[in-house]
Structure formats: C-alpha cells, structure tokens
Subunit: 296 residues, 2 copies
DNA sequence: TCCGATTATATTCGATCTGACAATAAGGGA
DNA sequence: TCCCTTATTGTCAGATCGAATATAATCGGA
C-alpha cells in the first residue's frame, strides 16, 4: 500500500482497474521483500519511498486459492512517497482513499453524506440479531466505531468500522449478505479480494502513527508552509485541526526550521516556508508516555 | 516469545538450553500459525494464551542456512500468559528477561550494576570511529539510548540499545567484534541465532503497548491487589512507578472493580482485591491522541 | 488610496492532566 | 501500647491542550 498526498487529497497507488493494490511475488534476486518493493515502486513512480513499514503477514490456510497442500504467505506493507508530475503509467494510477472509504472523510466539518445511511443500515443489522445479548453487543460495537449516541468520532477506528460494515453485509466484498449493499457513493468502491481490508489496516496504522512519529514529512515537498503541512495531516486524519494549536505543537517540538523564503500565495498574507529538521530523527527518541513513570 | 510475570519477575518461555525461543515449523493442519502457536503453548503450559500479537516477519535472503534457492520466512509473535504451578516440562522452562538484558532493569532505583561498564565500553566504541562526523553520530545514538549527559532513561528503547551493543561488539552474538564482550553478568546471556534480537523487539513492543492498551491484565490472576498490578507493570517497564499516581490512573479509567474481599497480607494494612473489568474492552476504543484535534 | 476580504501569525485563558509529595488509615508484632 | 509496614486519600504546582481572540501582511476592487 503506497500512499501520497497531493493537493490535500490522500492518494493510493493502484494497478489494474484501480481496485487492486500493487502486489506480486517478489523475486529471489532481492535481498528482502522490502527492497524488492522499494525498487519496484521507485521504478514506477520515479520517486523514492521515504518510509516503509510492515503491516501484517497473512498465512491462513483459507488464503490459498484452488490448490491445496500449499500455503500462501502474504506480507503487506505501508509505504509513503510523493506524487509529483504525471508519473502515472498505463499500468498503475493514483486513487483517493476516500473513494474506498467515503464515510472516513470528516474534513468538511459535517459528517460525510451517506454516513447516516450506513448508521441506519447498521442499526437494522443490530436489531436483526436474534439474541438480545448479541443485540447489545453489536449495538455497543457500532456505537463506539461510528460515534453513536453522544460519543465522539474516533478517526483511528477505520479498520473496526470496515469490519463492522463487512459483517453487516454493507460492503460489496461481503458476498454472503442477504441485502444488497448501499450504492458505491455511500459504501465506497470495492477492491479485489481482501485489499480493501488491508487498506483499512494501513489507514488505521498511519492515522495512529502520525501522532507520535514525524512520518508526515515523507509526504511533503522539501519546503512547505505550515498550512500545507496541516492540510496533509488533515487529509490523513480525515478531520480538521485547529490552526494555532497545530502551529504551536509543530514549533515547540522544533520539527521544522524556516528557510527564509516566503510562499507566493493564493491570496492573503504570504506564508513563511519551512523545511523538516531531519536532525530531530537523531536528537530525539519518539516514544509516547502515558503511565505515571517517575521522572528521576 | 511467550511472556508471564511471576512474583514481580518478567519471565520468558524458553526451550533447550534456556537460550532458545519456542519455535518451529507449524504444520498445515492448523488454520493459521497463530492457532498453531496457541495450541502448542497451551499444551505445554496448561494455561491459555490471553493475547497474541505478530511482531515481525523475516524474509531476508541471508536468513537461509546452508541451502540456497530457498527463502525461509519466519513470523515472530508476542504472547502473554500466566505462569502458575510447576508446569515447566523437561523440554521448556521459564527465564527472567533480565538475564538476557541486565541493563534494562532499573527497578532498584539505581542503575543496574554493569550499566556503567557498558557505557564506558560504548564510549570507547564511539571514539574508535575514525571519522569525526561518524563519531558525533555514534555519540548521539549512544547518548539517546543509554541516557548519557542529562538525558532521561527511556525504557522503550530496548531494541535500539541492543542494536547498539551488537554494533559495538559488546554482546556475544556479535562475533565480528574485535574485543571480547564483557562478562555475562554485564552484557547478559546470549541466545541462539537472532533470538535475543527478537526478544528485544518484543520487550520494546510490550513496554510501549502497556501504556495505551490494557494488556497487563492478561498477566494477572483473576483477582489481585493494586500493588500487585503495579509490580507487574513495573516488572515489564523495568522501572518504578509512583504508587498514588498509578492508583489514580487505574481507578479513574475504571479498568478494575472491587471484589469485596481483601487480601491476606505480608504485613501492613490489608489490601482490597480487584478484578479486571472486561467490559472496558467493549466500552472503550483504546487509541491515543496526541495531535491537537478539534473536539466537536 | 482606502477598504475589506483573505490568510498568516501571535497571544491569552481556563480546564485538565500529571508528577511529586504529604497525610491519614488499618493491620501485625514486639 | 508502641512501632513498623502497607493501604488509601488528598493536595499542589507545573505542563499540556483545546478554544478563542487579537494583530499583521498582502491583494483586489471601489
């Protein structure tokens, strides 16, 4: 899963009919699958992958196709890069995340259109569970994941939401469902096999990771304004961020330094240009702290 | 990597000469490697694995042994259980983490004996880099990982520390080193192949995870006192925690509920017994928040 | 040239969290 | 009864964070 952000839109590298993640049996000639992935993508997009991370390894028996007696092992990765110029070849292209997960984009301030439809269909699914105990359990899972009652929307629950929709038969991939899923504008574009689930895993991981490691900068150009940086984070998180607070956080952590230049602008006061202080990667150990540890 | 905590000591399930992690080619009969691991360990220890998590998948070409043309894929896991009764069979036993990582145990309040020796040897290694730029880079990595100058010790950097020691030739596994590593009481017991590195990965992951997900309870008996819970967390984190603050955190998050009983004690006022509120797993979505997101 | 629209940047304020520490309660043993 | 040990409750100051306000710089049109 290769991610880039362009003009405030989080993009995904796809192949084929735009519903398949880049994948393939990486040859023995590479030292590791990681380096195989890197070489392949750099050749396709012309841009180096700034960051690669393992997502999950699937080795379940059900994963084999027609043949038995042979287990297929799939290692999924999350990679970040920049999409510039028109590098999309005929074999691959870029798609917005939110075509696959329309319900995940809350950047307009209001919930996305169609989310209420999904919520209603989920409630039907909850009520459809015979057992009252099972009903309560389903109800609670839906309430947490989709922010029912007075709960806040939690953008890090992308995978849980997709799994619920799958279970409820509200996405096309869940062929076992009785009722037909809602239209694609509501339930998103389907992908091949379990690729949309892998995508959900990656979105979840990335939305979590940007909060404690400076990986956003892999998606930025060498120089950028603070608003551009904020828009990129918002694109990934799928929600709006308070501007002064975002600035404060970035500055007091000394993640960036001014270049001295200012940006030619789209109206309004010119913005200072910044660059990422690569030194922070060496200076600091990025590791969160939540338990009350003694400082000394 | 199977972990339990007993009497305030974090323990590790080992096989053979106590320097090998449980491992093996899991047969095709299991639905997934996960379930194979689960069955194997439950049979060996008599206790169910409460929690299993994938650590990392190795697929590098160097990982093959004598044979070429065939790539070995190893999936490493982290599992939590309880060690009770004398279930150690002849083929496996429990070892303390800190036999392998003596420098990681800071629970005495003072740094572990031998840490200063390691620091001194690391400084030698820093100075041994010819290039001054490389010296500065090494120096900074050591300073961060081992808390030099006035930096705080960060217990989540176990893997980084092990890798530095490896690079500096201060652990037995690094056979390429010129100088002999310090005695085992200082540099820890060696393990087979790269098992100690996998262990370091698991320790790092677990020390990080206990801070935002309630996995500690998988290591506790059904009922426990708050101090026992604290001691377990301290055993994993390798450092002391302030008691009142720990209580406050656990209580205000409603992670536990009183059983009504009190513990027969080892001197001092009897302690209330608690049990884990399994309901929190359903009630709450455990996902950290660090970036300044708008609340509404 | 003035004004307002737009965006950038700086500052303030209050609620909450958290680390550090103090104080009180309840049991056991000398 | 006194003292030791552990449990439990409470306080306080500093840091953090969300929210909102205030000021600055540029552009375009009246």
């Amino acid at each position: 899963m290769v991610v880039a952000v362009n003009h405030g839109e989080p993009c995904l590298l796809t192949i084929g009919q735009a519903d398949t993640l880049p994948s393939g049996p990486f040859a023995l000639e590479h030292r590791s699958p990681q380096s195989g992935l890197r070489g392949w993508v750099e050749h396709q997009t012309g841009h180096p992958l700034g960051y690669i991370e393992q997502l999950y390894t699937f080795a379940d028996r059900d994963r084999v196709g027609p043949e038995r007696q042979q287990r297929v092992i799939s290692i999924s990765y999350l990679a970040l890069t920049r999409k510039e110029q028109a590098t999309a070849s005929s074999t691959c292209g870029w798609q917005s995340w939110y075509e696959y997960f329309p319900w995940e984009d809350h950047r307009s301030g209001t919930p996305p259109v169609g989310l209420d439809i999904l919520r209603a269909r989920l409630i039907e699914w909850v009520d459809g569970a015979g057992d009252p105990a099972r009903q309560r359990e389903r109800r609670q899972r839906v309430a947490i994941a989709f922010g029912l009652d007075d709960r806040h929307w939690n953008e890090e629950l992308t995978l849980q939401r997709y799994e619920l929709l799958y279970e409820a038969g509200l996405v096309e991939e869940a062929s076992g469902g009785k009722a037909a899923p809602p239209p694609a504008a509501v339930s998103g574009k389907a992908m091949v096999a379990d690729h949309r689930r892998i995508l959900a895993t990656g979105v979840t991981r990335l939305r979590s990771k940007i909060k404690y490691r400076p990986v956003v900068f892999e998606l930025m150009r060498p120089t950028f304004t603070l608003l551009q940086l904020q828009r990129t984070v918002e694109a990934l998180a799928g929600r709006l961020i308070d501007k002064p607070n975002f600035r404060r956080l970035v500055e007091q952590q000394e993640l960036v330094e001014e270049t001295g230049d200012t940006s030619v602008d789209t109206g309004g006061r010119p913005a200072k240009l910044y660059r990422f202080r690569r030194a922070v990667l060496d200076e600091r150990a990025f590791a969160g702290t939540k338990l009350p540890m003694s400082r000394a």
